[in-house]
Symmetry: C2
Subunit: 366 residues, 2 copies
Amino acid sequence: MKLTLQPQPIQVEILIRRGLLHEEAIEVIRRLGKRVAVITHDNGVATHAKSLCQALQADLFTFSSGEEYKTRETKAKLEDQLLKAGFGRDTVIVAVGGGVVTDVAGFVAATYCRGVPLVLVPTSLLAMVDACLGGKTGVNMPKSKNFIGAIYQPHAILIDPEVLETQPLESYRDGLSEMIKHGMIWDAAILDWIEDHWEKLLQKDPGTLEKAISDSCQVKLTVVERDEKEEGLRRILNFGHTVGHGIESSLNYSISHGTAVAVGCLVEGYLSKIPEADLQRVLQLYQKLEIPLKLFLESSEEAILDLMKNDKKAVGGKARFVTLARLGSVEEHDGNYCRTFDKKELQHALRWCREAVYSIERIEHP
Amino acid sequence: MKLTLQPQPIQVEILIRRGLLHEEAIEVIRRLGKRVAVITHDNGVATHAKSLCQALQADLFTFSSGEEYKTRETKAKLEDQLLKAGFGRDTVIVAVGGGVVTDVAGFVAATYCRGVPLVLVPTSLLAMVDACLGGKTGVNMPKSKNFIGAIYQPHAILIDPEVLETQPLESYRDGLSEMIKHGMIWDAAILDWIEDHWEKLLQKDPGTLEKAISDSCQVKLTVVERDEKEEGLRRILNFGHTVGHGIESSLNYSISHGTAVAVGCLVEGYLSKIPEADLQRVLQLYQKLEIPLKLFLESSEEAILDLMKNDKKAVGGKARFVTLARLGSVEEHDGNYCRTFDKKELQHALRWCREAVYSIERIEHP
């Protein structure tokens, strides 16, 4: 006997527009459910959440921000509060915040009454172009990031570049780094465009941001559309991340995710054997965007090599890497998008990158 | 911008065969993952789990059985144990037990590493013909059954009627009651067949059981196939349950689920205005199967009427009921399968049923 289910197509509406949160957002959310619960973190950025709440006459639920609060306990507390406030099947959950908030609130929505409608309102550039797209939700376990979770698509993602005005430049740059990654793996035109508009990007010019966010989202959406469950193609989004995670971890997270991924993209680009001129071009782009690559110089090569073996993609204790065919395109190996390198090759790539970053630093600060 | 996902069709393999657990089961499970975790409750029935574990060289994880342990805390404990034992993405979870075990272990599988393959091995008749089919998983919250959970389909359901030999007759009858419900809402031939085979069913004759379980599963599968998310048709599986839940709750669960649903099917059959001869026929079938309907006589009509208002299907404080067009077929009302009745009608139906049960008891024990 067999049960065959053909699930309905899933549609996620993604709106990217300045000022969106003042008007359109209200309508979109109201359409989805009778009772609205806004979930956000309890620090400054919650301003956007508060005004949304007022406009929607919604209830506000908060939790402490930071990876260390991305836990089952936080999820349980939010569920208790929702249940106590009488939220039932006709609930719509609106997550307002960065990746931690959208991951936790998304996971709450995925299992509340076996799933209620979800709307994401990312407030950091990184969440806008990466975390909020693709439906990954979850919480951390000790030493295991995002270990308990679900793939659960929101009904809508509402991106208002205006909220970035208050984002600190340091974390804002993490989003810029992820944009460059999208350019490197899928669409070299993104790199050309950023080269022409980097000053306006750093100034957070709204029109420039709308275009940049939109192009970057398009890359991730295209990839997720072809492989929602990360069985193949979606792996390419991990370009730069095998090395990046190793660096982050080796420096005990004193380097930001975006900076570590920037270095990771250079190292993995080098492993890919694309022309060095292309790598120099990317390096200069990072410099223009003031991504503090030099932090990488403080890391230990041995520690990075060792930590990469624990990467999620590792098989039999050997780290695997996404590689580029050229700028704007990844390499495929028999339907697979990951390959291994031996220790010598990895050392060589890390040393090249160290030298390259060192040289550029020397030019800037002779 | 829009993200459109067309999820892959989901296939659930359902094997119903005596002795299945000794051989075929091992192969089916091995195919699904490298490391096998068997989850079961820690009372007697776990024998089946233990022998499966040995054959599969799997790890065994247990929790206390009973609705009161169907909680987020139990889920978290199981996750901690799995993580500690080093289970990762290549895990397959095998749930061996009744509905509580399949609901909790299924929910663990749904969110472990964002979802790992799941195999259900139901060990009660009710779990075989009802709980294990349809993908509902979850845990209870205070006063809210199955409030946190997911719809997550197992890869395979392995039904071995042999394991029913050790099931106590009382809970075994709960499964028989659910089979009759399936006959009433979808396939009157099931009722004819049970009328011809009730003695062998009570004796748990393996061949008879294979056929009976298979027919009953087919009804639920057909309904779930057409409406996995319970947006319409799947509601009809709640026939007998609005009244049934009211009775269970009013008697503080001193009556079994199956007995309460049996009474519920009679009352809701009466509300449907199908010929009384048909209802008498069902009543006699319950008698033959020794379902202790007389427990219903101890309940309070006012309490039942009151409790039904809290039913999940209730709208605006009015209980809603699935009704029959005739034996073997439900009524549809503009794409909806539920309707309300006024208090007088409900009282009338409950009183008719009380009288009918009382009469038949008087004949049996004059």
